[in-house]
Assembly symmetry: none
Homo-oligomer: 224 residues x 2
């Protein structure tokens, strides 16, 4: 397991490095944002341990940078600040976990193990098709940059279809995505939502089309 440790405080860095090594991890150490960027770009790590307070800026800014390069390495952020809004920001910027200082080393280790066990996160935050972009994080649909507001159910239909653009989505699987279990829907409610969604997509000229396939389900296609 190769870990990139980004931490400017020499004492803590050294202690962590030693402790991680003791658990059979190979640790590279970066003391600044700049250095960390270089390391992350040139080497491939199984996880990145990232301090926020670095001499040349907020460590968190590193995350979108490496994500933009298509790098999905799990990032665990270490920080002195521990209020909720900070955590939320961190996670939403693409970090995978967040640990407030001071922390128990055992917990760091356990969280690290949980991250390493997770399958590689290659999923992009935004799904695109035709002229539309679906921002999964902010649950927002944009058509050529203009927001398109959709009701909840239609949004769910669209999301399920977009996750398999150009491929079949079974009716049953759509039903499951849109209505849970407890809803006992026995009408053509799904068809209704598809229909309304179709109209809105056409009106917004989103350059996508929803095709129904009899007896099977639906699929969303890009159109020229």
């Amino acid at each position: 397991m190769r870990i990139l440790l980004v931490e400017d405080e020499p004492e803590l860095a050294s202690a962590l490095k030693t402790a991680l090594r003791r658990h059979d991890m190979v640790v590279d150490h970066a003391a600044s944002l700049l250095e960390a960027g270089d390391f992350a770009a040139s080497e491939s790590y199984d996880a990145i341990l990232l301090d926020r307070q670095l001499p040349d800026g907020d460590g968190l800014t590193l995350v979108p940078k490496i994500r933009a390069r298509g790098n999905a390495t799990p990032v665990l952020v270490l920080t002195a600040r521990s209020d909720t809004s900070d955590k939320v920001d961190g996670l939403d910027m693409g970090a995978d976990d967040y640990l407030a200082k001071p922390f128990a080393f055992e917990e760091l280790l356990a969280r690290l193990r949980a991250l390493l066990r997770r399958p590689a996160n290659v999923q992009t935050q935004v799904i695109r098709a035709g002229d539309l972009a679906f921002d999964l994080g902010h649950r927002e649909v944009l058509v050529r940059g203009e927001p398109l507001t959709l009701p909840r159910r239609e949004l769910l239909v669209l999301e399920a279809l977009l996750r398999r653009t150009g491929r079949m989505v079974q009716r049953s699987s759509l039903m499951e995505a849109v209505f849970g279990l407890d809803d006992e829907i026995q009408s053509n409610a799904l068809d209704t939502h598809v229909s309304r969604l179709r109209r809105k997509l056409a009106e917004a000229d989103a350059k996508v089309e929803i095709n129904g396939v009899r007896g099977v389900g639906y699929l969303l296609r890009e159109i020229s």
Copy 2:
């Protein structure tokens, strides 16, 4: 996004459910370990929110159970206990994240989003022959990657033949695959479907051919 919420305290459960729904998630609720096990087994979720203190035991024991069934759904554990050793146990039993009560709902959401940031594409079995690929799970036929939409009966014929590519399929066995038991078909309906299917496969240049064998049945062959 489908979430399984396992929480016995009705008030919190209801509040969470509402809040999650407001963020476009489809939530199923289980109030006990037993119920949760059933839900997790029969349905597929994108994430599980799991309380530890349940009337019939420690929620955490659910995690190894579902993992043993090959289910890799991300699990976020909620708990009142917040000491390090508990967290370590939780994460090491296969949970993906751990959040101590009381928590800010925003943090829960952010952590959930981090967990969900992964591909939802379930792999299903695909049979190939010639230039065709039949995705059994999604009931979809692709010819060189392009979807070929077929009516239900023709799809059934194709599936039955593909399952025995290059080998004879008895007429009677095809009848059963296509019409099942209940239908009382006494015409040449099967021949009709085979014929129509042949035409479509030829039009799509699928590099497969259906040969009829007098008195026996049909077989599907790859052609150069």
